[in-house]
Symmetry: C2
Subunit: 243 residues, 2 copies
């Protein structure tokens, strides 16, 4: 498939789709906590922290709490996970919690992402449409060499995916009708919500997101294009390597 003429912007999920949150959080947690004599399964620690992600955002989506940056939700969730491990502030003090929370700003990209975005940017406006807050996404961009036209998504919309306003306000910021924007994600639920809002969709397989062979290897919903890397997406959307 080459890009339908009407597509003008690509919007990207970030956690899992562009960056390996699980391996990076496990690494960061180990580096910060093991010198304090804490020894746990670091991948399971990352999974437990991520496990609180949807419930915390649901409090915002449902209106039970006002919009809060994901950094703030991550911090509350970290406290929950540490308490569950019986790690009080005597074991993990406030400064360490603050520093550990910023681990989400230090996630590493899958290797195809920076070169794929560089190709895609020749033809499309590009923005993350993530639940991550702007400072977090900006730090990931610097760390991994992503070049965005803007940072859109949850903090811009003041609500969390999969609420339609997040996809629609991101498309509108680029002066796009919904069908002129394509959501790119490794998760069928994200793509289903984007499609329901009227966007085009591209699935990127990240089969190792939750550990080897545990992520989605194919889309569970109908999508416009399905690829295994962003460089493949660039090829499929007609972004060749010429300048």
């Amino acid at each position: 498939m080459s890009a339908p003429q009407c597509i003008r912007a690509l919007l990207f999920d970030v956690f899992g789709t562009l960056v390996d949150w699980r391996g990076s959080i496990a690494r960061e947690a180990r580096e910060l906590l093991s010198p304090r004599g804490i020894c746990v399964d670091w991948e399971a620690f990352a999974d437990a922290w991520r496990g609180e992600y949807q419930p915390s955002m649901e409090q915002v989506r449902s209106g039970r709490i006002p919009f809060s940056k994901l950094d703030d939700l991550h911090r509350r969730n970290l406290d929950i996970v540490l308490e569950r491990l019986a790690l009080g502030t005597n074991r993990v003090d406030e400064a360490t919690r603050t520093e550990l929370n910023l681990a989400w700003h230090r996630l590493d990209a899958w290797p195809d992402v920076a070169p794929g975005l560089a190709l895609l940017r020749k033809r499309f406006r590009l923005a993350p449409c993530s639940n991550g807050n702007i400072s977090l996404i900006a730090d990931l961009a610097r760390r991994n060499g992503f070049v965005w036209d803007a940072i859109l998504g949850a903090e811009f919309a003041r609500d969390y995916k999969p609420k339609p306003v997040v996809y629609l306000s991101s498309a509108a910021a680029f002066d796009c009708k919904p069908e002129q924007a394509m959501m790119v994600a490794a998760h069928s639920s994200d793509l289903a919500a984007a499609a329901a809002a009227g966007l085009r969709t591209a699935f990127v397989a990240r089969p190792d997101e939750y550990g080897r062979g545990t992520g989605e290897s194919r889309a569970g919903v109908s999508v416009d294009v399905s690829v295994s890397s962003l460089t493949e997406l660039a090829h499929r959307l007609g972004c060749d390597e010429s300048p």
Copy 2:
């Protein structure tokens, strides 16, 4: 002055401070309208269009109309200016008006801006804090080689400068207290409002903004630093040329 340790982000006014809106709009209007047999003073045309800028934003700031992108305000203002020149849709049709309105996406930067931003980005998070909408600012970035960490300002805040929320929400998006962010602008009124909101301020002289010798050559209010270019600002804030 080297940068106070506390400054973590620089926020930039765009029209006049980073780009020559007057010369660029005059050029674009001439290129689009003179083939249609229209001959006016093109700098005066740019000034007239820009003259409607503050009154149109004041309708949003005062709450008389809901927040509208600057592109939409520019379009209404263009119609006002054309009507004043007795140029009806028989002389300037809808498609031409749409195209001319996008002239604001094709403004050229002052020559010091791209190299200055590249130096400043080594040490600070950088974002525009402009009244221009996101797509407009993103197009100016591509055209002129600006690299931003995020696009903040009016569309993000859903209100227009000099309302405090625009400065404060931009600083907060970068996890900065107001005093950790510095507003950079060529206009004393913008800097006065930023300072009143608690931000640090840098004045950049653009004495030719409205034609030779007509812009502000020095700040009319107290500022933290005053320079004549962004490369000078980089030097004053301790961003040397080493990597």
